[in-house]
């Protein structure tokens, strides 16, 4: 159970010195085939402090966390807990050392009750102490100021509540170190405020908290000490004195410099930073002409889905309409219904005023309706085929690439060369197997394919999910430019609220397959969207 009375207590029960680090790692190295994820990383974590690990995707933050939680073994380096060198060979070892982890991807089992989830790993063999666990849960929940029903299935809880259960689980058994990996990625703005409140409570109790994030403003909001990682290395640590004493803009500038290196000045427009530096995008006039209209569209849910119910919306010419919502609230169903990959059982879809309800996928494609899937490797590309063929994948059998059923390689290659250049796809040649490309380049390939041959409206499903900062930047600019300069409309489905606030004219919100509202993107929109994301009524 969490030690509540003594603020800082070791396993021995003796009060420890706050000035000595609880966990210290020295010279950690970890390589995966082809990547050095951690290169000589050292840092110290103190009790009663939130230590932020900041860095962009692929900087090695999660690897480091997985080493501390016993999921990975480091290639070199040492870990000290309370000044003693330890080996963390498994998650069990980490838990025994008092290191609790809230992973980025939830480790709650959705079909188990909250109580069952908490009981995992608590007993052995035939014993199971339900009563004890129930009492323990009550106490920890009360201490954290959260309220959870122990008998409800974890999968039925809102994501914010699931995370609270994860935190309770990580603290179970008396953890003194709490690691949180990208804890805000699934939360609404309201959920983030709640999380910050809980963290403050834990901090006051003397817990050492490691908070991993790629968002600069979050690190500044919660961090007492900030360590910046870049390409697997520590590029700098800001001590608490500095963090608390330096004015925020100056601090921000220093960290941007550390995160992105010398070329940081050129990156004033990096999406992550832009929202804080330049404010929201300027408003612009949108023509009232509807390009895509959904009228009361419903889709039957398949296993594990929510389906969509009675969704009506209009996307106007040149408009970027965002669709916000926590993942799994009908986003994929909506996108596939529009693209024609899924039958709708009620309602109608109009493209440029005519119904396309019964039009095939390829007919919709030819009429200028495009779909950039979020499943880049599964349904987006065929990894064993060449880049060139993948670029014309949706035009198989059409001229000029095919003639009388025979493939015309020259025409395909010529077209592919143009697209590779136009979309800056980094590939050794157009004949290279698509599967060997990096995630960012595969996404560029998808965009090249969908955005060529006269698109009218493009449905983007999580277009920057999992991409590095630079590619994210490129993709967002492409979406924006296409809408503003060529009046290609966009239905932008994203779980990243900042992305939507950055790009969209209006933001629609999906919750359990229903549209709970459409919000104009202006100052304060995030709060309204956040409220709708958890099912609040539209004002």
């Amino acid at each position: 159970m969490v030690e509540m009375t003594r603020p800082v207590a070791g396993r021995s029960g003796a009060t420890r010195d706050l000035s000595a680090p609880v966990v210290e790692i020295r010279g950690i190295c970890k390589a995966f085939p082809g990547v050095v994820a951690n290169d000589d990383v050292s840092l110290a974590v103190f009790g009663g402090e939130v230590h932020c690990l900041l860095g962009e995707n692929g900087a090695g933050k999660s690897t480091l966390m997985n080493i501390l939680s016993g999921m990975y073994q480091p290639d070199a380096g040492s870990i000290m807990v309370d000044g003693q060198e330890v080996r963390i060979g498994s998650p069990r070892d980490a838990l025994d050392l008092g290191i609790g982890t809230v992973y980025q991807h939830t480790t709650l089992i959705p079909v188990f009750t909250v109580l069952e989830n908490l009981l995992l790993g608590q007993g052995r063999g035939l014993s199971m102490d339900q009563k004890g666990a129930l009492a323990g849960l009550k106490k920890v929940a009360a201490d954290l100021g959260v309220d959870v029903d122990p008998h409800v299935q974890a999968g039925r809880l809102a994501l914010g509540q699931q995370q609270q259960v994860e935190i309770i689980k990580a603290l179970w058994g008396g953890s003194r170190v709490l690691i949180l990996d990208e804890p805000t990625s699934m939360l609404t703005p309201q959920g983030i405020v709640e999380l910050e409140r809980v963290l403050l409570q834990l901090k006051e109790r003397g817990l050492a908290i490691i908070f991993i994030t790629h968002k600069l403003h979050e690190a500044l909001d919660v961090g007492d000490r900030v360590t910046v990682l870049r390409q697997g290395r520590v590029v700098g640590t800001l001590e608490p004195d500095t963090v608390h004493a330096t004015p925020r803009p100056e601090l921000q500038e220093r960290i941007v410099g550390m995160m992105f290196g010398e070329e940081a000045a050129a990156l004033a427009g990096v999406a992550e930073v832009r929202g804080q530096v330049t404010g929201r995008r300027a408003r612009r006039e949108i023509s009232p002409e509807a390009v895509l209209e959904l009228r009361g569209v419903s889709v039957e849910p398949q296993r594990g889905e929510v389906g969509i119910h009675d969704v009506s919306l209009i996307v106007r010419r040149g408009e970027i309409l965002g669709v916000a919502g926590v993942d799994g609230n009908g986003q994929r169903e909506l996108a596939e219904a529009i693209a024609g990959q899924r039958a709708i059982h009620r309602g109608d879809i109009l493209l440029g005023g005519t119904s396309i309800r019964h039009a095939s996928i390829s007919a919709r494609q030819r009429q200028g309706l495009r779909y950039v899937t979020d499943d880049r490797l599964g349904e987006g590309t065929v990894s064993s085929l060449s880049v060139a063929v993948n670029l014309v994948l949706k035009r198989i059998g059409d001229g000029p690439f095919w003639r009388r059923g025979l493939v015309r390689e020259d025409a395909i290659n010529e077209c592919a060369l143009g697209l590779v250049e136009g979309f800056d796809i980094k590939t050794p040649s157009v004949q290279t197997r698509c599967g060997t490309l990096s995630g960012g380049n595969i996404q560029k390939l998808l965009l090249a394919r969908e955005l060529s041959f006269e698109p009218k409206i493009v449905v983007y499903n999580k277009p920057t999910h999992g991409l590095d900062v630079k590619t994210t930047h490129v993709v967002r600019d492409r979406i924006r430019e296409l809408a503003e300069k060529e009046y290609v409309s966009a239905l932008l489905i994203s779980t990243d609220l900042e992305e939507l606030l950055d790009l969209c004219d209006r933001i629609a919100v999906l919750f359990r397959g229903r549209l709970t509202g459409v919000v104009e993107n202006r100052v304060g929109a995030e709060w309204e969207v956040g409220r709708l994301m958890v099912g609040g009524e539209s004002r």
Partner: protein, 311 residues
């Protein structure tokens, strides 16, 4: 047709259902346990054959049915260690290994049977029934339900045990977690490998016991390929049971009764062609699948090997 519901018919139907249903119950129960832990054991039929053969041989030479059943259980256990090593420890594909196990078991048991007995098929005495006082006196049902070999009651007790273990113990919780989200179990500090290994050993033991029941109690002889698809029917029952032991019991006896139906019909003077008789269990599977396929719940991580930290 008026004598369809006579006591003769019911007695034949029920005792036949138990005779044919017991192996399905044991094997299905085992399969259900490993599926809940996330391991799809396609080799169940192979484990049954191994158990059937080994059990028969042990019973024949030791002149003890019980030693034979135990020998069958051990043989199934040994067979399942193959899956433990290849699927759980080394993370190989469960379906490929399962099929390999099945084919190997079919080969080994028929070769050994042939080498040992040639074309003769020695027969065991039938196992003594345990007549439960009072209850066995119930008209029509009593004689068939409560006058069975002890091992039948053991099988029924196992249903209750499996139900309790899965539902109310840490071991059961960990087992289910291994099937739903092994990374969560690992993160909670419990070995996924150990949990799944235990589940597979249970499957192997029960599959072996089911096979031994078939040869020792059911038929009294061992014939190559004698399981005749029972292992696969066991897999179907386990999947349709949605992980609940009681439904394995119900499923196994429904399938068992579909086998005994023709015998029972013949007893009351309705003649059914032999081909239809042989077809019945498989028709029953088809019907069950068509009607209940949507109801089947499979654990989320079924069939996927777990390797910590893989990306």
């Amino acid at each position: 047709m008026s004598n369809l519901l006579t006591s003769t018919f019911l007695a034949a139907l029920i005792s036949g259902g138990i005779l044919a249903g017991m192996p399905l119950l044991l094997a299905g129960l085992g399969e259900m346990v490993s599926e809940r832990a996330g391991v799809l054991n396609i080799g169940l039929e192979g484990m049954m054959l191994m158990g059937g053969y080994a059990g028969f041989v042990v019973a024949l030479y030791s002149h003890s049915h019980w030693l034979g059943l135990f020998g069958g259980l051990l043989a199934g256990l040994v067979a399942s260690t193959v899956m433990v090593i290849f699927c759980v420890r080394l993370g190989l594909d469960q379906i490929v290994v399962g099929i390999a196990l099945l084919v190997t078991a079919e080969g080994i048991t028929s070769v050994l049977q042939r080498a040992q007995f040639g074309t003769t098929y020695p027969r065991l005495d039938s196992m003594a029934a345990l007549k439960i006082p009072v209850l066995s006196g119930i008209p029509a049902l009593g004689e068939s339900l409560f006058n069975q070999p002890l091992v039948v009651y053991v099988g029924l007790a196992l249903v209750a045990v499996a139900h309790w273990v899965l539902r109310s113990t840490s071991m059961g919780l960990h087992l289910r977690a291994a099937g739903e989200k092994p990374q969560a179990l690992d993160a909670a500090g419990v070995s996924v490998t150990a949990t799944r290994s235990v589940a597979l050993l249970v499957t192997g033991s029960l599959g072996g016991l089911g096979g031994a029941y078939m040869s020792i109690v059911g038929a009294g002889i061992f014939v190559p390929f004698m399981t005749h698809g029972a292992g696969f029917i066991g897999i179907v029952i386990a999947m349709l049971s949605r992980g609940r032991a009681v439904w394995v019991l119900i499923g196994a006896f429904l399938f068992g009764m579909s086998v005994s139906l023709s015998t029972a019909l013949q007893l009351v003077g309705v003649n059914v062609p032999q081909d239809v008789v042989n077809m019945l269990p498989f028709v029953a599977v088809l019907v069950a699948l068509v009607i209940f396929a949507r109801e089947a719940y499979l654990p989320a991580a079924l069939g996927s090997p777990y390797v910590r930290g893989s990306r």
